[in-house]
């Protein structure tokens, strides 16, 4: 039994929950400032080319409008993420069909639509590149017409934003080991796996309100942007460049945010800069809120991917060596692709022991709006490939999917593929046993095999085993150098000051739990300050499942430090009541004017990461999981449905069971959508189904019962033993579901999303249509993968 205290591990009411259920919570579109105008964006109508001319129709009185072009930008024309390749507004070159060219503002929102229709832009068109393969081919053929991205001094090359090469050991030794493994292995199994783009589909679209302030001489003094976002300091950084202002003159305030999932990590830097430019030029506060069609077409999505595996396996099911090639489609600009690719690379080998492994990864440029952050951040892509491939290996060598994994799982004391020793306990064997039991896996495998013979509904079960690293990759947390404050204000209540944002996942609640637990005060006494960069310090972005573990730990340390201070200076007794705390804190304030406990991130002494070799401790901690999916495939309609889902994970100690279950269930639902429903249709780089009517996410009627199970093992790095949780549930559903579909139908599908038309096409593409849907279909001859010389020589 672990020691549990009532606050952490309990389920207090969500801090801002009352305002939300009352409909009283104010989101950006519920706010308005005096004299506020409305903004809109004029976008390109071609995928690639240069602007020849811009014509304003005389039918509109343009004097009523503020028009911003690239030449109005007072600082640099760039939206900075990792490189400066991404312009704030296109000046000449167009690199994707939603590229912003002009910005308009008007006092009446309704006047914008007509204006947009009366601006005509002529282009000199250039050929576009729309897939990973087209982008690669252009490089291979040295096709100058289709080199759409030139490379950069930050490490990219023509059409390629970033490459990684990761070895499980010394490069030469690993190459030699791989050569020997492929030479001597009983089996060499190859596979290729594809994932599509996915829209975050937060129900609240992107939106901001910006203001610009000038001094007595008329010079720009400062800007302020309020909006729906995850990372206020990312936007501050973007504004400092666009306006050439110091950081303290670029104020950003996060308001209630209606879902994000990564979709409001990097994009607010774009829309926030745009609105601020309109505010600058119009002299009015300006609100830009996208409608659904614009949000879906123009903002980021999950990177499409292709993962290729080549694996050497012994006949008793031991992985001897493997090569993995992960390629993602980054879209038109680098944005966050290098870091998404990094997570894809590190997660590609999964929770397995590889004597020798090489992962090559690259992010290619295409003329599609830049892809960006979405829950999982590269890991769902490479783990989809891996966990489908593990089932393929099992089938090829004649082991069950379960047995193959059991023979290769990482365990406590082993090293991951980056050479990170697993010091904290890891028990994948137990997780697998428990997950399969919870799901009734073995009984169902046997029963469905029998029932499927006589039914046009084919049922099956499948699972995926995986892990997700918590926090920024490698030296990321060291670079972020996050800072938090806990202040006691004049009301005698502790206020948490962080830039970590609430967008539904429960930041406000869990950080309050940590503070209340540590300060031994009632949960209700803790106040979370609104993330306003003029007030809160930079505690890092709210991404990468880092808030609970990294920021939570900082709050725990800041709270402990405050208690020490009050004990030392105010004789706060060892055991105190909330009243005694308040008295001591207010007495301290009376003497010193304020009471603040600040704490900065300190990397654990043993964490080491080598950015050049891509080796070392990739993450301070990992969450481990086994997810089991049950499916039914209707052979009359070719519809595959997930009929039950079991999600078992080890995420350290659970801080808030209700919120934690909600996180897992929500992630699983998005994962089911990723696998079976959500398809982005592209035409010449433009999303064609940019409406909720034709981009289908699961409704309440579509989802199966989702059973969430936790295995609690305290983690030393997180507050109260907690680890990160947010992204994990996105990783497992898609491979588990496609493994289940193979179990149900005998056919291997290796591309998601998998819609009924895809299943139909596959089943009707076999030479004899009469064979469609029977067990005669050989999974090893599917169009995506092939098995190389599976000769059993025993």
């Amino acid at each position: 039994m672990s020691e549990r205290t009532p606050i952490l591990g309990g389920s207090p009411l969500r801090k801002e929950g009352r305002a939300k259920v009352l409909g009283a919570a104010k989101y950006i579109d519920d706010l308005s400032l005096p004299g506020m105008w409305y903004g809109a964006t004029v976008r390109a109508s071609i995928a690639r080319g240069t602007i020849r001319s811009i014509t304003f129709s005389p039918d509109i009185d343009w004097s009523e409008y503020t028009i911003v072009r690239a030449s109005d930008i007072p600082g640099e024309n760039t939206i900075v993420h990792l490189t400066k390749d991404h312009p704030c507004l296109a000046e000449h070159a167009i690199n994707h069909p939603e590229e912003p060219i002009l910005l308009l503002a008007h006092p009446e929102k309704s006047a914008l639509l007509a204006a947009l229709k009366n601006i005509h832009i002529d282009y000199d068109e250039l050929p576009g590149v729309f897939t990973i393969e087209e982008s690669e081919t252009a490089v291979e053929n040295n096709d100058a017409d289709r080199i759409i991205w030139p490379g950069s001094d930050q490490g990219g090359t023509a059409n390629c934003f970033k490459k990684y090469l990761m070895y499980s050991g010394d490069a030469k030794e690993t190459e030699d080991g791989l050569a020997a493994a492929f030479e001597t292995a009983d089996f060499v199994v190859e596979g290729e796996y594809h994932t599509g783009a996915q829209e975050q589909l937060y129900i609240e679209n992107n939106g901001v309100i910006a203001e610009c302030f000038r001094d007595a001489t008329g010079a720009i003094e400062s800007v302020c942007v309020r909006g729906s976002m995850q990372c206020p300091y990312y936007l501050v950084h973007a504004l400092t460049l666009v306006f050439n202002l110091p950081q303290d003159k670029c104020r950003v305030i996060q308001v209630e945010t209606g879902g994000a999932f990564g979709g409001k990590e990097d994009f607010p830097s774009v829309i926030g800069s745009h609105a601020a430019l309109l505010a600058m030029k119009s002299g009015h506060p300006v609100k830009i809120t996208y409608d659904r069609a614009e949000d879906m077409a123009a903002t980021t999505k999950r990177h499409p991917s292709r993962t290729r595996h080549r694996t050497a396996v012994s006949k008793d099911g031991k992985l001897l060596g493997g090569t993995i090639e992960v390629t993602i489609d980054g879209g038109a600009y680098a944005t966050l692709s290098p870091v998404v690719l990094s997570r894809a690379t590190i997660h590609a080998p999964g929770p397995y022991k590889w004597p020798h492994i090489r992962v090559r990864a690259k992010a290619m440029a295409t003329n599609i709006p830049p892809h960006g952050a979405f829950r999982g951040f590269g890991a769902p892509q490479s783990l989809f490939g891996l966990e489908r491939h593990m089932d393929k290996i099992a089938k090829t060598i004649g082991l069950t999917p379960e047995e193959l994994r059991r023979r290769n799982f990482l365990a406590t004391g082993d090293c991951t593929a980056t050479g990170q020793p697993l010091v904290e306990p890891v028990d994948m064997q137990h997780l697998l046993t428990r997950a399969l039991n919870e799901a009734g896996y073995h009984e169902k495998i046997a029963r469905y095999a029998e029932e499927n013979k006589h039914s046009s509904i084919k049922r099956g079960v499948g699972f995926a085993a995986f892990m997700h690293g918590t926090g920024f990759t490698g030296s990321g947390e060291r670079r972020l150098n996050s800072l938090v404050h806990v202040d006691v204000m004049e009301d005698g209540r502790p206020h948490i000051l962080v830039s970590s944002t609430e967008f539904g996942q429960g930041t406000n609640t869990i950080l309050s739990q940590v503070a209340a637990q540590t300060l031994r005060l009632p949960y209700e006494d803790i106040v979370v300050a609104q993330p306003d960069t003029s007030v809160v310090p930079d505690s890092g972005p709210t991404v990468a499942s880092r808030t609970a573990m990294i920021v939570g730990k900082l709050i725990e340390r800041a709270s402990l430090q405050m208690l020490t201070l009050l004990r030392d200076e105010q004789k706060l007794p060892e055991d105190f009541t909330p009243e005694e705390f308040k008295t001591a804190a207010l007495a301290y304030r009376a003497q010193h004017g304020s009471l603040r406990s600040s704490v900065r991130y300190e990397p654990p002494a043993k964490i080491y990461w080598d950015d050049d070799l891509y080796r070392g401790d990739a993450y301070p901690g990992y969450a481990w999981a086994v997810y089991v999916a049950e499916v039914a495939v209707d052979m009359n309609t070719y519809m595959a449905t997930c009929t039950r889902f079991d999600a078992l994970q080890e995420v350290g100690m659970v801080m808030h069971p209700v919120l934690a279950k909600g996180q897992i269930e929500g992630g699983v639902a998005q994962g089911i959508g990723y696998a079976l429903y959500e398809k982005c249709m592209w035409k010449d780089g433009r999303m064609m189904n940019n409406q909720m009517t034709n981009y289908i996410m699961p409704t309440s009627a579509d989802l199966p019962p989702i059973h969430v199970h936790f295995e609690e093992v305290p983690c030393i790095h997180g507050p109260g033993g907690a680890k990160g949780i947010g992204e994990l549930p996105m990783d497992g559903p898609a491979p588990a579901i496609l493994n289940a579909i193979e179990n149900a139908t005998g056919v291997a599908f290796n591309t998601i999303p998998l819609l009924p038309e895809d299943i139909f096409e596959r089943f009707t593409s076999f030479t004899d249509p009469a064979l469609g849907g029977t067990e005669d279909l050989d999974p090893s001859v599917d169009r995506d993968t092939r098995v190389e010389a599976p000769e059993v020589t025993a």
Partner: protein, 163 residues
């Protein structure tokens, strides 16, 4: 412009608005009732759901003219003097609200569902809420919230009948 008379959350109102103005915009802009949200503007997501003469409608699809003489209930009319309705309380306790943007519509859809089926089956809940999209929860906490609210409302109704 048309003159529209309606009863909203129990209050009679007269408005001069363009006939074809969306009810959603009338609520948000003219009446400053911003609890009703816009998610898609095409009747798919249910974030703008309100009760129009007791029926659940997407206010983004309803022209102002159509509500003349009607009774409307928005999220602002569900609570009483800041006291949460049992449905709201259950959503709060059971994790039925995460980011909160679908919550007003979801609570009105639940209200409508429980009026129709005081003891709904899981299928009735799933079908009844299928017009209200939630991207955060995966719906499981919402189903629990609805079930708990149903139980509480039955107890309250029985109490009302017996007292």
């Amino acid at each position: 412009m048309s003159q529209i008379n309606l009863t909203i959350n129990g209050n009679r109102q007269t408005l001069d608005v363009p006939s074809m103005k969306r009810l959603l915009d009338v609520l948000r802009e003219d009446l400053h009732l911003t609890g009703t949200k816009e998610g898609c503007g095409e009747g798919e997501c249910g974030a703008c759901a309100v009760l129009l003469d007791g029926e659940l409608v997407n206010s983004c699809l309803v022209p102002a003219l159509q509500v003349n003489g009607s009774r409307l209930c928005t999220i602002e009319g569900v609570s009483t003097e800041g006291r949460l309705h049992p449905i709201q309380q259950c959503f709060l306790e059971r994790g039925g609200a995460q980011c909160g943007i679908c919550t007003p519509g979801m609570i009105l859809a639940t209200h409508h569902l429980l009026d129709k089926y005081p003891n709904p089956t899981m299928e009735q809940i799933q079908e009844g809420l299928a017009g209200n999209l939630c991207r955060c929860t995966g719906y499981m906490r919402i189903f629990e919230s609805v079930q708990q609210a149903a139980q509480q409302l039955v107890v309250i109704r029985n109490f009302d009948l017996s007292s």
